[in-house]
């Protein structure tokens, strides 16, 4: 009876489809335009980059925000420094630090913790500037209104968060993880105290707000600056997510440059670079855009000593070895 039930095999069609599909698939990457600058998330190798200043930033916000902000800045720096400047996006905080250590990035907008990590890994790296707000930066603990969490009066009240679903930002974020964890620890809350025995790591401040607002997490912690711009833009619904506590101030973001910029770009380049930031003024329309996008009135020098406290906290929490 066998032959009655055998399936017909479509030999001919099978053959040509297979060959065509295979070819199409194999050639697909080859027909793409060769590595588009900017769009490709890959950092070009170290070679032939002698005269190109590569700037980057830890991806603490939505990629679109970063992609709007940094090309503007790159243009302005290129104009004032007289060298080509390119913005190279990176995918996470750790990658930014590693790339800086390797010398794949020349100038990076780091958080306090990643900046300390980067300077420890690249001795001699120079702190260039910070914003006026970075000397005393704040994080906000936020909560979903359904969670029943209410604004708390003092730090001890953070113990209310025990047993709640809680998310940080990135693992290496100063304002989204390091300092909040430090303040939580002072209030007697450890990471195991959260629901599920561990906190979440949302990867960015925008993501933290969205997750807490959605109810996926009952509470979280964000950088005050991102919170405010999110409120202003109307993305955050104040009926769904509220601030429950504002941390004391601590130093945060700053520009960090490679130690060898003077050798590569000429004597005095690092000083000139610093000058470019310190001289950004709100009365210049182009520069005003940049300052506004950075959420700063101006850039100011950053005393290196202020990060000693951050390094100490980093070591206590184990994020710095």
């Amino acid at each position: 009876m066998s032959s009655l039930f055998r399936r017909p095999l479509l030999r001919l069609r099978e053959r040509s489809t297979a060959v065509l599909a295979g070819l199409a698939l194999a050639l697909f990457p080859a027909v793409l335009p060769p590595s588009q600058p900017g769009a490709a998330p890959l950092i070009p190798g170290a070679e032939a980059q002698q005269k190109l200043l590569r700037i980057s930033a830890i991806p603490d916000q939505k990629p679109e925000t970063l992609n709007r902000l940094y090309p503007l800045l790159a243009n302005e720096l290129s104009r004032s420094l007289g060298v080509p400047v390119k913005y190279v996006p990176v995918t996470d905080y750790t990658a930014a630090v590693s790339a800086f250590r390797r010398g794949d990035l020349d100038l990076v907008w780091f958080g306090a913790l990643t900046g300390v990590q980067a300077r420890l890994q690249k001795p001699g790296a120079k702190v260039i500037a910070q914003r006026d707000i970075d000397g005393s930066f704040h994080s906000l603990f936020i909560a979903n209104t359904v969670s029943g969490l209410k604004p708390i009066r003092n730090q001890k009240g953070l113990s209310e968060l025990k047993g709640k679903r809680f998310t940080f930002g990135s693992e290496s974020s100063t304002s989204g993880r390091l300092m909040p964890q430090y303040f939580l620890g002072q209030a007697g809350v450890t990471l195991q105290d959260f629901a599920g025995g561990a906190p979440g790591f949302s990867s960015s401040h925008d993501a933290t707000i969205a997750l807490v607002q959605s109810g996926a997490y009952q509470a979280g912690v964000v950088n005050e600056e991102v919170w405010q711009s999110s409120l202003l833009s109307g993305k955050t619904d104040p009926r769904k997510v509220i601030v429950i506590w504002r941390t004391p101030g601590y130093p945060n973001y700053h520009w960090l440059a490679q130690p060898d910029l003077d050798q590569r770009f000429g004597k005095g380049f690092t000083a000139k670079l610093q000058g470019s930031f310190l001289n950004l003024r709100a009365n210049n329309p182009k520069q005003a855009d940049i300052l506004e996008l950075f959420g700063a009135k101006r850039f100011i020098p950053a005393p290196v000593a202020q990060y000693d406290a951050i390094e100490k906290v980093g070591r206590e929490i184990g994020k710095i070895r």
Partner: protein, 534 residues
């Protein structure tokens, strides 16, 4: 009352117990669903059902923004390119490694087999480390560049291919070789003539399967920032831009199904054995065509490498690891026991869910009118979504931890296992004994599900479970990728150590992982041999 001596009733079973029969064995792992069903209500927080709903709804309305599409296409191109290059490199290296680890080869050349054993042991090490770990390690050493992802795929894959090729070579009958040698042929020539053509079908069938794996690996590496579409997938998921996320997912699905489909057709066309039972040797056909295809692949690979900007020379410029003062007492004080325990538990849970889930779903869903299609779709999604993305999605409604991580891993592996099971079941329905016992049962009035269970699963059980044992070994390696979902064993600590640049912990963790997977591989091998022997 008089005591009554009960005589053995007629028909009472004279042999008290027997082990569960073959088809039940296949469903046995699914018993893990019972404790899981008990645990799950306590883990669901349901806070983000709305998000899950939005995510699902966005599947129908992916973003078609040209800029985004362009970026997605570029990302996809990078992913496919990385997969292709990593795969090709792994095949080349793996073939060499396989020949070097074949006992037959060494015995013919040197009359000694010990170098083969030595090389086998040595190759177990690169194999035991997941491609993600290789990627992150190279990232630290040579910086972020496309070559990192290619190499990260090539190294563990090459070791895997080497092992399979070595096993295939040693399983080939040696009679033709002996005949040639006795006739006075030189050793290399005799080896090539006697073993080369016989090796091809198995090796290429496996090689094609590796390409599918490479595509999945390249996507996964992207999720961790090593280039390609995966990066976009993760960013869009984490910023809850589901429409944009689905643009990438659909594109990836199309490429994956296209690749799997064409490989299946090529396998059939070239008369190569299916994935089940690697030791089954098919009769290779169209050898010349196959070689031509391989030759045609070379210029394509060069083009792809150029398009991606892969520069092998840049791999030679090494940078030291981040400076660190090893603090071994701290490393030793880490909760190794509980971490290893959690990792093993995670592996077992995920493996049981995946291995038991596939036949269970097939049994219950496949007989529905649209059931087959539904399953194929579900399994394709499972294969498509890198486990860390599934895990992040699950966190919207589940608490973090072991079970959530296991579900994410299980869903991915269910996709892989389910597809192979369906393919194997389909091939059982072809040929002279078409339908076999299943058809006979159906003709005797048995329902479709019981007929499937008795008639088809019986024959598949052993080889399926053997493959399941292999899959469990893969899952053990993969536990590292769901470290994102806190409290998930070694993987979680590993990601934390990475972001803290704690190189001492990192090295210790990689070493423990490697040791664990070596043990796991050994156990899985034993299980497979036992299953396939009887």
């Amino acid at each position: 009352m008089t005591p009554v001596v009960t005589a053995p009733r007629p028909g009472h079973c004279p042999w008290p117990f027997q082990p569960p029969a073959a088809p039940l064995l296949m469903l046995l792992p699914a018993l893990v669903l019972l404790p899981l069903a008990a645990l799950l209500p306590g883990l669901v927080h349901g806070g983000g059902w709305e998000l899950i709903g939005q995510f699902a709804a966005a599947a129908l309305t992916p973003s078609l923004d040209p800029v985004l599409l362009g970026a997605a296409f570029t990302g996809l191109g990078v992913t496919v390119g990385i997969a292709l290059l990593g795969w090709a490199l792994s095949l080349a290296l793996g073939l060499v490694g396989g020949v070097l680890s074949s006992r037959t080869i060494w015995r013919t050349l040197l009359a000694e087999a010990w170098p083969a054993e030595l090389i086998r042991r040595f190759l177990a090490v690169p194999r035991s480390i997941h491609e993600l770990l290789w990627g992150l390690l190279f990232l630290q050493l040579v910086g972020l560049q496309p070559a990192v992802a290619v190499l990260a795929i090539a190294i563990p894959y090459a070791a895997l291919v080497a092992r399979v090729v070595g096993d295939l070579l040693d399983a080939l009958p040696t009679a033709p070789l002996d005949a040639l040698r006795n006739a006075g042929a030189g050793a290399p020539g005799a080896l090539l003539t006697a073993l080369g053509p016989a090796l091809l079908p198995g090796a290429f069938s496996y090689g094609g399967y590796r390409l599918e794996c490479a595509l999945r690996s390249a996507t996964l590496l992207g999720v961790f920032g090593l280039g390609g579409l995966g990066t976009e997938l993760r960013l869009t998921l984490q910023s809850l831009q589901f429409h944009e996320l689905w643009t990438g997912l659909w594109l990836l699905l199309a490429v994956m199904l296209l690749l799997e489909g064409s490989l299946r057709l090529l396998r059939r066309r070239w008369g190569m054995p299916g994935r089940f039972g690697l030791d089954a040797r098919g009769v290779g056909r169209s050898g010349r065509e196959l070689l031509l295809a391989l030759l045609a692949l070379l210029p394509v690979l060069v083009l792809v490498a150029r398009a991606l900007g892969v520069n092998p020379a840049s791999l030679l410029v090494w940078q030291a690891l981040p400076p660190f003062l090893p603090n071994w007492p701290v490393v030793l004080a880490l909760p190794w026991g509980s971490m290893v325990g959690t990792t093993v538990l995670l592996t077992l849970l995920a493996a049981a869910l995946a291995v038991g889930g596939a036949p269970l779903l097939l049994l219950f869903v496949a007989p529905w009118p649209w059931g087959r299609l539904l399953l194929q779709g579900l399994w394709a999604l499972g294969r498509l979504w890198p486990p860390p993305l599934t895990a992040l999605l699950l966190l919207f409604v589940l608490k973090p931890g072991l079970v959530t991580a296991a579900l994410a891993l299980a869903f991915h592996n269910l996709g892989v296992l389910g597809r192979l099971l369906l393919e194997a079941a389909d091939s059982a329905a072809e040929g002279p004994a078409a339908g076999g016992a299943e058809l006979a049962l159906r003709c005797a009035g048995c329902g479709p599900r019981l007929a499937l269970l008795y008639g088809r699963f019986s024959g598949l059980a052993r080889s399926y479970l053997a493959y399941g044992a292999y899959r469990a070994d893969v899952i053990l390696r993969e536990t590292v990728v769901v470290g994102l979902v806190g409290a998930a064993g070694l993987g979680t600590l590993l990601l934390e150590a990475l972001s803290s640049f704690a190189v001492d912990q990192l090295l210790a963790l990689v070493a423990v992982y490697a040791a664990l997977t070596l043990v796991g591989e050994d156990l899985s091998d034993r299980a497979r041999r036992r299953l396939l022997a009887s």
